[in-house]
Symmetry: D2
Subunit: 127 residues, 4 copies
Amino acid sequence: MQDASTTLAQLREIVRRFVEERDWRQFHSPKNLSMSLAIEAAELMEHFQWIDAAESRRIGDDPAKLAAVREEIADCCCYLLALANELEIDLAAAVRDKMVKNAAKYPAEQSRGRYAPPELPGQWSRS
Amino acid sequence: MQDASTTLAQLREIVRRFVEERDWRQFHSPKNLSMSLAIEAAELMEHFQWIDAAESRRIGDDPAKLAAVREEIADCCCYLLALANELEIDLAAAVRDKMVKNAAKYPAEQSRGRYAPPELPGQWSRS
Amino acid sequence: MQDASTTLAQLREIVRRFVEERDWRQFHSPKNLSMSLAIEAAELMEHFQWIDAAESRRIGDDPAKLAAVREEIADCCCYLLALANELEIDLAAAVRDKMVKNAAKYPAEQSRGRYAPPELPGQWSRS
Amino acid sequence: MQDASTTLAQLREIVRRFVEERDWRQFHSPKNLSMSLAIEAAELMEHFQWIDAAESRRIGDDPAKLAAVREEIADCCCYLLALANELEIDLAAAVRDKMVKNAAKYPAEQSRGRYAPPELPGQWSRS
């Protein structure tokens, strides 16, 4: 399974089936799933807690660390897919719509490498 | 663009190009991106902060609330895609590997609707 | 040491000395400390991840669980004290000022047990 | 009100009374309060999201930024106090106990300015 040939729907189905087989939907309220995503995001952050930006870019130099980070990223992704399943939200369409909104808010020419008012660069999520 | 026909690679490319066009990679250290994902996950949680599980399952009844939640989920997804790009991690493969590990740890028959020792149900992310 | 007889300054001093003795201020940039507080807050959340509100109110019935929650709360408090030390922010004054602001925003008579516009009840932190 | 002369109990009482006057305890399950603390911690992190460690140490140079950070720290503190109230946890005792545990785990002489195995420096919260 690879990004180049795997659709969002296929990944969502893997998660859906796993949850269904175990009758775990009862625990997967959107409230609990949002907490779960935040918990995993914090576990991912832990790997970068005390190192600086440059060192964080080199995390791939250490196979063990990269494997741990990869697993936390997978956990975040799984909960995001579970949320999409529970709320029946098409992720690709949601991402596409948000990126269109971001592009309008941060025109490429004006945003290159610097602060695009009123938000900080690299921060496209301030709607 | 829909989950049924969109690959992870296609979504990653949208994010990659957006970041590249604005010369924003300089801000996208894995450290900063992990903070960003946690920040967006918390914004998503805010929509469920004071309501209970049952009410959170009905969030889709209110179009305005669903739209807001959908946008936060998109923000989380975008930062996850940006992280995958920066760390050159194949998301589909990472998710597949983690789900295989989860399935081994929580065999369906033993995990149905109840606590699978030693973790809580619905919590497949405790490695 | 008890809340009834311990000042914020005394608690801050315990933390300050600990950090100083180990020459750890070099790691305690406000950026890293804010990440640390978020990480600990997520660890605290984990104890309530799959249970409902009512069950969370009974967490004190189980001594082992209460001890674990107590330790996470202590961790959150420690990082908050470290942040106050690094940024030279008087916590008591900051809390007092914010609670005054909250009281003006949510007059008691109008806010009793229900949604105070435009925020949700129990959510005094939306400034 | 200042840290030098304010006890934890006095700060807890301010929060307790505020919540009581508005009949908001119904919303303050430990589950919801833990989410609230994590949400505020993320809002605090936002102020340091795209800047580096050195720049984060200079946040006090800008009065407006410092005021915003001060307010987020107050919000975190308020929810921590609310949690202590709901769970009847003495914060000073909890912090004292954890710092004693930390001191035993990270003896000052061995931990000075460097990694104390097996945890990272500055990270006293890995129990």
